[in-house]
């Protein structure tokens, strides 16, 4: 392992690591534009030039690997002068339209200008003009004048998305990023080019002119677009989510996320169910929980717990599902019929987009340990029509692969339909009782992704309207029904109980599996024994008649 000295700090690094990465390990940030850890290094921005002992000139730190005994200066006079010069060169033809640029506030050029250049422009001639506000794709806008030609977007399309729509066209200071003729920047990950753009050259058409970035607060969260569970920064302002940005996680999504997932944030605000509804009329939690309790008790008395359907949503967090499970066990006596609901599956690819469009299907599996006895929501309509189900308590508004109109028609026949959801959708008119749940941006929780990785997400802002987290709604109703055992003061207590329960379940399952295995082995041994016996007998039997058979 090579030893390198960076600004006097000795550090031992892996072989073939670039100087830039070695400097980062030694605690020094080498400014850069074109370098991105997940992409190749073309060394074209010349921002990361550093002084290496015995090298005839400054070397780009992103491109050159370290060698043993290398002595590097990243802040020497010569380096800082070159850096300043590069910034001045970039700004020669840059429009400096920060006041109307969406990137202002998170722009590397701005940051480095204040850190290293901070001088008045010495350029008096007219700047080179290029294309402005050009819709380079359905979701991305390109500004040629702001572009610093780092080619990160081009390399993203070549190396990560594999679609290669972008290229450099023309040369000298007229050079521009363009799509190949007849193409546009329209791939499933095109908005990642906006993330990798160090300046405001590529902007999201969705986020353009929406909010100044320094007003945003960022909360660590998980994308709910599919079961991949991409880690995100949920950027919000005044109780509203403004955008998602991918958050690095090498196990799940690296630095990327898909466009569809990124734009699912819009669902957090459209057509929200914001207050409890009782037969279409706005009610309050205090009276409504009581009437829900009374109605449920009545239904249980009239038809028994077996006639109740509890529909679990794969969109809900593990904690919510766990409370639903406790509710099922303690209130509904483990007799009510359970269903799994969620969004129907959609398109998928080999990278980040999964067919299962629900963030937490694996979470239901984790909470219940096994899914036998839990039906798919597609069968709900049939069960209602058959008369086995009289009452439906449903989380969410999705029917999976089932026929939606059929399900809605069936739900109309229910004696009691309780809807607990973030949105009412077309079920609001059908529901006798509608309970507003809050979105994942408004609560804490855990999602388990397709690979089985449990990932926490955090509360970004207060719940909209009167909505509450699902787990609290279950708790309130249980309380109203006189079961105070479902009483958790904090989410962490729910989590403690949940992890304990799943651990027990896991152990029980293991024991059961071991027992079953043992039983199977014993059975197999017994069977083999019996068979051997039988074979012996039959052999004896066949021998006997042979003797007596007349030839």
């Amino acid at each position: 392992m090579p030893m390198v000295t960076i600004n006097g700090v000795e550090v031992e690094v892996e072989k073939d690591v670039s100087i830039l990465e070695a400097a980062a390990q030694a605690g020094f940030d080498v400014p850069h534009f074109c370098y991105h850890p997940a992409l190749s290094a073309p060394a074209n921005c010349r921002m990361c030039l550093v002084e290496v002992e015995r090298a005839p000139k400054l070397l780009p730190a992103c491109y050159n690997p370290v060698s043993d005994g290398m002595v590097v200066q990243t802040e020497s006079e010569q380096v800082v002068r070159a850096r300043k010069a590069v910034l001045e060169f970039i700004l020669v033809n840059h429009p400096v339209d920060c006041p109307i640029c969406d990137k202002a506030g998170e722009c590397k050029l701005q940051d480095y200008y204040f850190a290293y250049d901070a001088q008045e422009s010495r350029m008096r001639a007219e700047k080179q003009h290029k294309v402005k506000a050009y819709p380079i794709g359905p979701r991305v806008v390109y500004d040629g004048e702001r572009c610093i030609l780092c080619t990160r977007c081009i390399r993203f399309c070549e190396e990560i998305s594999g679609t290669s729509e972008l290229t450099l066209a023309d040369r000298g200071d007229k050079i521009e990023v363009r799509t190949f003729p007849g193409q546009e920047l329209d791939n499933d990950y095109s908005l990642c080019t906006v993330d990798v753009c160090p300046v405001g050259a590529l902007t999201s058409r969705d986020f353009r002119f929406k909010c100044r970035v320094w007003l945003l607060t960022s909360t660590e969260s998980i994308c709910t677009g599919c079961s991949q569970g991409c880690n995100i920064h949920l950027d919000h302002f005044r109780n509203e989510t403004q955008r998602y940005r991918p958050r690095y996680n090498s196990e799940v999504n690296d630095y990327w996320m898909c466009d569809d997932g990124r734009l699912t944030y819009k669902n957090l605000h459209t057509d929200r169910l914001l207050s409890p509804q009782h037969n279409g009329a706005t009610d309050n939690w205090h009276t409504l929980t009581k009437s829900v309790a009374a109605k449920l008790e009545k239904q249980i008395k009239a038809h028994g717990e077996e006639s109740i359907a509890l529909v679990l949503s794969a969109q809900a967090a593990c904690e919510d599902i766990f409370l639903a499970k406790l509710f099922h066990e303690e209130i509904l006596g483990k007799k009510a019929q359970l269903y799994i609901a969620g969004k129907p599956s959609g398109k998928h690819d080999d990278f980040l987009i999964n067919a299962d469009k629900n963030p937490n299907r694996r979470g239901i599996e984790a909470v219940f340990a096994k899914l036998d006895g839990i039906k798919d929501v597609a069968t709900l309509a049939g069960d209602i029509t058959a008369g086995t189900i009289k009452t439906v308590y449903m989380m969410g508004t999705e029917f999976g692969e089932g026929d939606r109109s059929e399900a809605v028609a069936a739900l109309k026949k229910c004696e009691l339909f309780i809807l607990q959801s973030t949105q009412g959708a077309d079920l609001l008119d059908v529901a006798h009782i509608a309970l507003p749940a809050c979105t994942h941006a408004e609560k804490e929780g855990t999602f388990v992704n397709e690979e089985g990785i449990a990932q926490p997400f955090y509360k970004a802002y207060e719940p909209h309207g009167d909505s509450l987290p699902d787990w609290q709604i279950f708790m309130r109703i249980a309380k109203a029904m006189g079961k105070s055992t479902l009483n958790f003061t904090f989410l962490s207590k729910v989590q403690d109980r949940m992890f304990e329960a799943t651990e027990l379940l896991r152990k029980a399952e293991e024991e059961a599996a071991a027992a079953a295995k043992k039983a199977a082995e014993e059975a197999a041994a017994k069977k083999a024994e019996e068979e051997a016996k039988k074979a012996e007998e039959s052999a004896a039997a066949t021998e006997e008649p042979q003797d007596s058979t007349p030839s």
């Binding site: 073309p42 060394a43 074209n44 921005c45 010349r46 921002m47 030039l49 000139k57 400054l58 780009p60 491109y63 002068r81 070159a82 010069a85 590069v86 001045e88 060169f89 970039i90 020669v92 033809n93 010495r122 350029m123 008096r124 001639a125 080179q128 610093i148 030609l149 450099l168 023309d170 040369r171 000298g172 200071d173 007229k174 050079i175």
Partner: protein
Amino acid sequence: MEEKFLSRNFEIEKAYNLDIFEEHGGYSTLSKAFSMDTDTIISEMKKSNLRGRGGAGFPTGVKWSFMPRDSDKEKYLVINADEGEPGTFKDRYIMELDPHRLIEGCVITAYTLGLRTGYIFVRGELQHAIRRLERAIKQAYEKGHLGKNIHGKGFDFDLYVHSSAGAYICGEETGLIEGLEGKPGQPRMKPPFPAIVGVFGHPTLVNNVETIASVPFIIERGGDFWASLGIEKNGGPKLFGLSGMIKKPGVYEAPCGITVRELLERFGGGMLDGSDLKAFIPGGSSCAILKPDALDAQMGIETMREAGSSMGTGCVTFIDHTTCMVRLATRLAHFYHHESCGQCTPCREGTGWAYKVINSIEAGRGRPEELELLLDICDSIQGNTICAHGDSLAIPVRSYIKTFTEEFEDHIKHQRCPFKPWRTGKSKSKVSSAA
């Protein structure tokens, strides 16, 4: 009269035809080369002190020895015939008048280094040279100098002509390789050098036309003989292209180490009547400019460096007293701005900015602080770019300002070009009064 080598066939009519070329001893060195050990050829090349004739002056024998000898990968030969530097016009003479000499050199080079395929990357504008080369290659194939089993030695070599799209940057060897691969001519980062990763990711030898055209003579007469023709570390004769305000501009062959004065007086016939030598550029527009007091400098890589410039391609441009140095600098800056590939920041933005500043000085809008700014721009470009294109602007512009500071200051002080009437076609008397 000295013995001629590279320009030997220039005077012979239709020497570009194979039969006439062979009549004058063409392709005779192939059999000698084929009988030699490849290591011997490389050591002869090293002994000859032949320096790359494309401008950088890297010792050719050493470059050859960098080629991996026992690599499984196919190796390529690329001839850099992208001669596009203002003031440089020697390679086209070889390609147009003696194309078979180049082909002969290619075959020997390929044989020595085990190369199976060669490309001659010719500047797109040199249509005549391209046609001559293509015809010569066809003739060579017919006679068995190229193709399968050359001269019955069991050695195969294919040679192709590739016409560039006419970008100056494709004369930079990695830019050339990108161009040859069909991509925009944007130079690559080095290392890896082309000898390791070149065309299509394979080891590649990139040599200039004149360099390879010298190879047959070295094989014929030996490395020591070739070295004896030049001076220390600069072996052999080379072609010198003389241009500017001289009586007999053209391409002349002379040994390395000849002084510029000798080139001017013996070959160029001296300055035009009424023209006084003001300055000269020794080896193409990217070299620093020199004043007449450097006329006795010898044409060699090291000797020219001592004189404060570089030999470059050896094509000297002589400039007389009627030339405005600011306008010359403007013209050069415009060229280097126009030809920048735009890949890396200092060159992309710096060349354009430098051009705009010099242009405003020439147009009479300059400010006193702008000379300092220009030098600053040059310092910031030089050495900080991916390839040497940025340096090609920085070096001459800096030297023009430093050598002719007064002229630049005059432009700024009087807010006009003292040579302007010459440009607008007004009477000549005003020129003399202004100067």
